[in-house]
Symmetry: C2
Subunit: 145 residues, 2 copies
DNA sequence: ACAATTTATATCGGATGCGATATAATTACG
DNA sequence: CGTAATTATATCGCATCCGATATAAATTGT
């Protein structure tokens, strides 16, 4: 591949990944709006629904985000009453996030989101498996710090 | 799959897509900083390097973005001197974007970006083909408007 | 013990990205 | 022909994201 070709949009992997991520986000937004959640708030809640209680640090790892991105987001989730945020007693640098009763209740309503979207069959079951394997390889790779 | 499983982060397609897109963005940023471009400005310039001259409307389609996202971005690229933005004479609603000489020169320096990243081999050649096919199917799908 | 380093968050500023809404130009149509 | 509908942008406000930098607490090394 020569220099010219290297700069063609169609030869990039980054570009369609970025475009698909944006497109997925746009599809989720109207559904999440009914729950009063943004997309990042939604995936954050997903971790809480699985674990009930996590350190901010573990959340950062689980979501592949940076701590500063989560700081504000957690405050917003706290204002909405879905989580409690408190300094850990054991390690006063650390922050613990705990699911509240309201947060637990939200889960019941949230089920409709993956249900609705699963019915749209963007990919076949086999393609989904393939796609997730590739995405995982990219996520685990150590090229992005 | 029951309701509980449906809300596991590990069963989502959206989540790793979103995480990978963010990770890719983070990897590009330091390289693009040397060119004085942000990621979206970079992909916009890619279209210009291919076509020399486009309508804003066509740019919106090519980049899978919304017009309002591009309006500000184009002004910034214009301030940097890489493009000229003008109302079309034929259709005064429409805006034409034209690559400038400085924009053309930028291309020479930009080649280093895909070159550097290609050397990092995030995926094998075969996986890249597979991945792009899946991404394309998702991009072409009519579920996201 | 205690100075130096590391770790976990918080703050700030810059750049998106989008929906909702507004505006101006063009097209459709009765 | 003139009004209604459509199209292409522009504005505004909100919610991310991130890098750089700051701060406080814990850990390490001597």
């Amino acid at each position: 591949m020569d220099d010219h070709e290297m700069l063609l949009l169609s030869n990039q992997v980054c570009f369609p990944t970025y475009a698909v991520a944006n497109k997925i986000l746009r599809r989720y937004q109207p559904l999440l709006k009914e729950l009063g959640l943004t997309y990042t708030q939604y995936v954050t809640m997903m971790v809480l629904w699985e674990r009930e209680r996590v350190k901010e640090k573990d959340l950062v790892e689980a979501l592949y985000l940076k701590a500063n991105t989560l700081t504000d987001l957690l405050k917003k989730l706290e204002r909405k009453g879905y989580v409690a945020v408190r300094r850990s007693a054991l390690d006063k640098r650390s922050v613990e996030i705990v699911l509240t009763e309201a947060g637990r209740e939200l889960k019941e309503r949230a089920v409709s989101v993956p249900k609705t979207l699963a019915e749209e069959h963007w990919l076949t079951d086999e393609e989904i498996v393939q796609f997730k394997e590739l995405l995982n390889k990219l996520l685990k790779g150590d090229w992005g710090k």
